[in-house]
């Protein structure tokens, strides 16, 4: 759970999740273009790649190879931990 909040703390990473919510299965190029053109976030490609690594480590995205291409997919499952912890009464949360 700590990894989840750590992953969500950076505005750029939340913007990446916003954009993958709009359309799943994006290349690194598309994610970079969306962040620059729609969010005014002009990070380097390397920096965005590192943000994607953090999101992947937290289980919030997964990567998929199709032939020579690499796509990034959103995985909302870890977010249910937030719902379980605070929005479902009487249910005990896990982790810190």
């Amino acid at each position: 759970m700590a990894d989840l909040f750590e992953a969500l703390v950076a505005p750029a990473r939340r913007a990446i999740l916003d954009e993958l919510c709009e359309r799943d299965g994006q290349t690194l190029f598309e994610i970079c273009a969306r962040l620059a053109m729609k969010h005014g976030l002009n990070h380097t490609r390397q920096a965005i790649s590192q943000h994607l690594d953090v999101l992947e480590a937290a289980g919030l995205i997964s990567t998929r190879r199709e032939g020579r291409y690499k796509f990034h997919d959103l995985n909302k499952a870890p977010l249910s931990a937030i719902v379980d912890r605070w929005l479902k009464p009487g249910r005990k949360g896990e982790g810190s």
Binding site: T27, L28, F29, E30
Partner: protein, 127 residues
């Protein structure tokens, strides 16, 4: 100084000629034998005197790893302008062209990215 020629690095000039003319609709301008390869350029039918696109062989050992790295990250090698990106997207999909990105509004411009079958991704953009 003018930009007369720009190029894409292709794995097979004949295959590239077919894709860029038959699928994309460009027309051949120059085709000059040069040893093993050809000086092979195309123009847009909308601008026959405009910038030529050179279909350049990717024979240099550094070229293919470079192209593969771009493709893996979804990065287009170059970009062409279109008047109606949705119409072009529909037309090219119907012709069997594979896209890694459908038309997406990126602020003032809408872009899409497809595979040229010659080792490159190509962006099309509507202003």
């Amino acid at each position: 100084m003018k930009i007369v020629v720009t190029s894409v690095l292709v794995d097979d000039q004949e295959k590239a000629l077919r894709f860029y003319t038959e699928k994309l609709g460009f027309v051949k301008k120059h085709d000059v034998p040069m040893g093993e390869f050809r000086w092979l350029t195309l123009v847009s039918p909308e601008n026959a005197e405009g910038t030529e696109l050179l279909l350049e062989p990717d024979q240099h050992p550094a070229a293919r790893p470079f192209k593969q790295a771009l493709v893996e990250d979804g990065i287009p090698y170059t970009s062409f302008g279109v008047a109606n990106i949705q119409a072009e997207y529909d037309r090219l999909c119907a012709a069997g062209v594979q896209f890694t990105q459908p038309p997406v509004a990126m602020g003032p411009v809408t872009t899409a990215v497809f595979d040229d079958t010659c080792g490159n991704l190509i962006q099309i953009a509507q202003q």
